[in-house]
């Protein structure tokens, strides 16, 4: 079980990030990226702090957070595996790759394994279309996925 930081701690760390970014033109997305990098997700308690600092409503902040696929409302697993499901990868069998990976990990898309080791997500194009099917594990790119590479990935996220 991942420990959630106490609300006051979230506030103080959020304020520090806002201070750093507030001078930018259109600072909301950079602030949210900073918060997600800090906490691994965008904690609910951070939203009123941002709203207050940028002089916008909490609803507006929530609207932005919920619009973008990247922002998480809950912490992800220790590893995040993004599997490309777009056309180029489809043409090279990404459906079968996804099915096999779901079976190996025992989870579906947008789910985290019970031990918290890995979160599996679909992604629509990593720009690696010349080496499909492709994936991204914790920001590292992997091309031409096959059974061998899937086994390596599974071994890595379980270690």
């Amino acid at each position: 079980m991942t420990m959630q930081p106490a609300s006051t701690e979230i506030t103080s760390r959020t304020v520090a990030i806002i201070q750093e970014m507030k001078g930018l033109e259109g600072p909301l997305l950079p602030i949210l990226h900073g918060i997600q990098e800090e906490f691994g997700h965008v904690p609910k308690d951070a939203l009123p702090v941002i709203a207050e600092a940028l002089n916008i409503s909490r609803a507006e902040v929530h609207g932005v957070v919920s619009f973008y696929h990247d922002y998480r409302s809950h912490p992800a697993g220790r590893h995040v595996l993004k599997l490309c499901q777009a056309e180029s990868c489809q043409s090279m069998g990404s459906d079968a790759i996804a099915a096999k990976l779901k079976q190996l990990l025992g989870i579906g898309f947008h789910e985290t394994t019970r031990d918290g080791s890995v979160t599996l997500e679909p992604v629509y194009c990593l720009g690696l279309c010349a080496c499909s099917p492709a994936a991204m594990l914790d920001g590292e790119v992997i091309g031409r996925l096959d059974d061998e590479k899937l086994d390596e990935i599974v071994a890595e996220v379980r270690s």
């Binding site: 997305l29 990247d70 043409s91 992604v123 720009g127 279309c129 790119v141």
Partner: protein, 518 residues
């Protein structure tokens, strides 16, 4: 002379193991006590040969590929530092047929130079365009870009010079140059390659745009799926600032221009220019109704040039060699070169920059070498998830904005995805609708609701429920989406759906017939 070894740091090469190869080479150099300089260049785009390692020899560069970490010891034993023969030996990289057949204008330096060395950039013709531009009036720069015939490489094909002129002619206390690097289309990676392999060409192009349109600030909006491109662009902007290419006085001129790299947050619709502007402003990426045009009221309501990466990266060569030089390439109203990205189930996948006018068949069969699986080509999707599926019968279509439009398709960002005969076009049509439903910004009804109803209706065809009636319904729905949507997401989703229905009718026949036909 210390030997120089080039190992691509491009994401595509990294995805194929370039980092492991780099580590193995560094370890081998240390073990053998050889002093050498490792340069992490971009990719030349021949991904079937990546990781492609090059060495600078007395007789020019020699390439080896695809190199595996297990090849490294034997490469050293074969004397690869002086171009020695080895089973991975490819010879001079510019003689490799896939690369030799190209016309590299925008990608001239990509894979050749050190992406973060401004010296290396200048040595290969970099900054000539900006230097020439500084000697001209803004109106003269705009005229030269207009004269070159350059059209938006993001997909819409709008003349770049006209866009710039509108911003130049619009009064504003502040104007912006925004680079659309939200390259979300499957099958495309040209923007990524330029940002990772030759970031200064984009910076130079944006700076020229700033001077031409009277803007002092630029933003590059890069998708979050491209962390390596973001890192390289950020470093390149730092280097350019220190060297005085960016800042209060561009190359010592009275012009000021600076830029920031911004990262998206995983929304495909932000590749649409007005949604991108809203996202930059810190809002939900919702599409704006036009007018007003971004050129009149764009970012923060100010006059804004918004161009794709490749459009902007093509400007330096136009300002360097002249409009006539660039315009000389191409056909009809499609002038210059286009970086075609050959992807999916194809033998020789990669980036192929060529003048407009090659036929789809030449690209798929001759350059791409057919499918990777060795099976017959069934369909080719051109222009990303909103592009039409072309059957072999249309392979004589030349790569040109108008020629593709005439065949109910689009060239989009010039990505082509090849499918072999195992592809189920009904499934592909369903995916197009599903993707639109996932990524719709929700502002207009045809896109938001139409895509969901589209998935449901196609599912009824699959289930054999009144298939003919439901197929007619999908066609009618596509018509509504095409003409009723606010932007290209809902408006172009009908292209892959209708082209699948039109060109591959057998895949839409009711299940019992489909089984019997096999």
């Amino acid at each position: 002379m210390i030997p120089r070894i080039y190992i691509p740091g491009d994401s595509g090469a990294l995805a194929l193991g370039a980092e492991k190869v780099a580590k193995a080479i560094a370890a081998e150099l240390a073990e053998r006590g050889i002093e050498a300089k490792i340069v992490r260049n971009g990719s030349r785009g021949a991904y079937f040969l990546e990781p492609m390692v090059e060495v600078a020899t007395a007789n020019g560069r020699i390439a080896y590929g695809p190199v595996k970490p297990s090849d490294v010891k034997s490469l050293f034993d074969s004397g690869f530092l002086t171009g020695g023969h080895h089973k991975r030996w490819l010879g001079a990289p510019d003689k490799i047929p896939f690369l030799a057949k190209q016309t590299r204008l925008t990608f001239a330096r990509c894979g050749v130079t050190d992406p973060l060395s401004l010296e290396s950039y200048k040595k290969h013709g970099g900054l000539n365009g900006l230097t020439n531009a500084l000697a001209l009036t803004p109106a003269a720069i705009v005229a030269q870009v207009t004269e070159s015939g350059l059209r938006g490489r993001g997909g819409a094909g709008f003349p770049t010079g006209i866009k710039w002129k509108t911003v130049l002619d619009t009064a504003g206390d502040r104007k912006y140059i925004v680079c659309n690097a939200d390259e979300g289309d499957s099958g495309t990676f040209a923007d990524r390659m330029i940002m990772e392999g030759d970031p200064f060409v984009l910076i130079e192009g944006m700076t020229i745009a700033g001077i031409a349109a009277g803007a002092t600030k630029g933003f590059v909006y890069v998708r979050s799926e491209y962390p390596h491109a973001v890192a390289v662009m950020n470093k390149a902007v730092e280097v350019a600032r220190k060297a005085g290419v960016l800042g209060a006085s561009v190359l010592g001129s009275p012009y000021a221009f600076d830029m920031e790299i911004r990262v998206g947050a995983g929304a495909y619709v932000c590749g649409e220019e007005t949604a991108l502007l809203d996202s930059l402003e810190g809002k939900r990426g919702m599409v704006r109704a036009k007018p007003p045009l971004p050129a009149h009221k764009g970012l923060f309501g100010k006059p804004t040039v918004i161009n794709n990466v490749i459009s902007l990266a093509s400007v330096p060569i136009i300002m360097d060699k002249g409009a006539a030089y660039y315009k000389d390439f191409g056909m009809g109203r499609s002038r210059g070169t286009i970086p075609i990205q050959i992807a999916g189930n194809v033998k020789y996948a990669g980036l192929f920059e060529a003048a407009f006018g090659m036929t789809l068949g030449e690209i798929v069969d001759e350059i791409g070498g057919g499918t990777a699986t060795g099976r017959p080509v069934k369909a080719v999707q051109v222009g990303g998830p909103l592009g039409a599926y072309f059957p072999r019968a249309l392979f004589d279509t030349p790569f040109d904005y108008e020629a593709f439009a005439a065949k109910d398709g689009l060239i989009g960002h010039a990505g082509i995805v090849v499918f072999d005969d195992t592809a189920d076009m009904l499934k592909q049509a369903r995916f197009a609708m599903e993707f639109c439903a996932i990524e719709s910004c929700g502002k207009c009804t045809p896109c938001r609701i139409g895509s969901t109803r589209g998935v449901e209706t196609i599912d009824r065809i699959v289930a054999g429920i009144e298939p003919e009636k439901n197929l007619a319904l999908v066609t009618d729905l596509c018509n509504t989406m095409k003409f009723g949507s606010l932007c290209a997401l809902g408006g172009f989703t009908p292209y892959p759906v209708m082209s699948s229905i039109t060109h591959f009718p057998d895949d839409f026949k009711p299940a019992p017939v489909r089984v019997a036909a096999e």
